[in-house]
């Protein structure tokens, strides 16, 4: 769920950029280490980023038209780890802003935090936890994608509520408003994404394509 260009006041835009920056810089460091060992890995990373971008351009027709598709982020978090995903996600968000006018430059810090940091970390955490608890494969995949998606949606609602607190009820009321409005589109989408990701992971397994952390 992207926050559009210009929607956040300058102060909030700068603050979220500062909050996201360390994650992206650390991710970039990790990426550099990988590239130092295996220079040609930049082709794989770029192909994954391109792939993630394409997912965002594939729309599941939904109630309100197009919406974001973090499916790739959940897949990527599982494949590359959430650290690297912060960098890949940032690149994807930049191209989404520049090629699809989806999101924006000033709001990029906030979007990176919700979609390239919070979402992937939650998806990754759920995936690992489910693995440890012995949750069945399909359920674990669904929960990782579904909850990763929800984490993005809740984070965005928090970001908007912080920027636009309600005149009377303050942050709480504003959060309820934003979360309520976006629930209409985001809850069904989160379910759809969870289901789609299950189909994807099953199909990949069927092709014997290795999925990190998946029990055979």
């Amino acid at each position: 769920m992207h926050i559009m260009e210009g929607f956040l006041p300058a102060g909030h835009a700068i603050a979220w950029t500062c909050i996201s920056a360390p994650f992206v810089v650390l991710g970039a460091r990790g990426l550099k280490r990988i590239l130092a060992e295996r220079p040609e890995a930049r082709l794989d990373i770029a192909a994954s980023a391109g792939f993630t971008f394409v997912l965002s351009a594939l729309k599941l027709p939904s109630v309100t038209g197009s919406c974001s598709h973090p499916t790739g982020t959940a897949l990527g978090a599982v494949q590359f780890g959430p650290g690297i995903m912060a960098v890949i996600g940032t690149i994807v968000l930049l191209f989404q802003g520049l090629l699809l006018a989806h999101g924006g430059l000033s709001t990029m810090g906030a979007n990176v935090f919700s979609m390239a940091i919070a979402g992937p970390w939650v998806a990754y955490g759920v995936w690992r936890l489910a693995g440890r608890l012995g949750v069945p494969f399909a359920v674990a995949v669904f929960l990782a994608a579904f909850l990763g998606d929800l984490a993005t949606y809740v984070t965005t609602s928090v970001q908007l509520a912080l920027a636009f607190p309600d005149a009377e009820s303050g942050f709480g009321g504003a959060f309820a408003k934003f979360a309520g409005i976006f629930a209409v589109t985001q809850l069904p989408l989160a379910v759809a994404e969870g289901l789609v990701t299950v189909v994807v992971m099953n199909a990949l397994k069927g092709r014997r394509i290795r999925v990190e952390g998946a029990k055979a």
Binding site: L35, L99, S106, A167, E168, K177, I209
Partner: protein, 244 residues
């Protein structure tokens, strides 16, 4: 599959202008849209961006309207939340009669049009090269340029897979949509990785050692043009403060 913004930026009237000039113009307007009060500053930025896009860069009005419409739709959905208050009695129109919502919409509309002015006149790779000169690490810049290359190939593949699925009646109905999309993604991911492998072979033949050196094809910015841009932006800021 072609993306409207890319198509416009590759073939537009400002294609040959220095990326630095276009970036200074559009990003300057974007900054003004954020720091000036939405009224009248945002309105002035909005007018300037639309004037430059339609009159200067000659972006076809139909394309320009469509490009603005999509992000504005999302802006309006978000702004709807600002126009209402929640309290014990439930939802009602905000005490300020939606003034805050209107100002946010105005600011966002100005900022979106400034972003689009940049995006629709400047191919994204030009901007990545600019970021590189501003200190973006070479590895990241190379990954970004490669991402750009892959995404068009993968967009075409995704479109072809979808056409094939629709020809066999996938995508009709919600259950089939979920299954078709899942199968599409599962088909695309290994192909993306396969493309990376094959490109590695292709580049190895030209001496690929990991890095991706290329000659620069950037055009230098003209100082008078930059001065004109900054002057115009200062004037816009001045008028805004004077009117406000």
């Amino acid at each position: 599959m072609s993306l409207t913004i890319d198509r416009l930026s590759q073939a537009g009237r400002w294609r040959k202008r220095a990326p630095m000039e276009k970036a200074a113009l559009a990003l300057g307007l974007l900054a003004l849209a954020l720091v000036l009060p939405p009224w009248p500053g945002g309105a002035l930025v909005l007018g300037a961006a639309w004037g430059l896009a339609l009159g200067g860069a000659r972006i076809p009005p139909g394309d320009w309207l469509r490009l603005n419409a999509v992000p504005l739709g999302f802006v309006l959905t978000g702004a709807a939340a600002l126009a209402v208050d929640v309290d014990a009695q439930g939802l009602h129109l905000a005490a300020d009669q939606g003034r805050r919502a209107a100002l946010v919409v105005l600011r966002a509309a100005a900022a979106v049009s400034a972003l689009l002015l940049l995006a629709a006149t400047t191919p994204a790779p030009d901007l990545v090269r600019g970021l590189r000169r501003l200190g973006l690490p070479a590895e990241i810049a190379e990954i970004m340029l490669l991402t750009w290359h892959f995404l068009f190939l993968l967009l075409d593949q995704a479109a072809a897979i979808r056409t094939a699925q629709e020809a066999r009646l996938g995508w009709f109905g919600p259950r089939r949509q979920v299954r078709s999309l899942g199968l599409l993604i599962a088909q695309l991911l290994p192909r993306a990785m396969d493309r990376a492998r094959r490109l590695e072979v292709g580049l190895a033949a030209r001496g690929f050692d990991g890095s991706l050196p290329m000659i620069s094809t950037a055009r230098p910015a003209s100082r008078p043009v930059l001065a004109l841009i900054l002057g115009g932006q200062s004037a816009l800021a001045g008028v805004s403060l004077w009117l406000g």
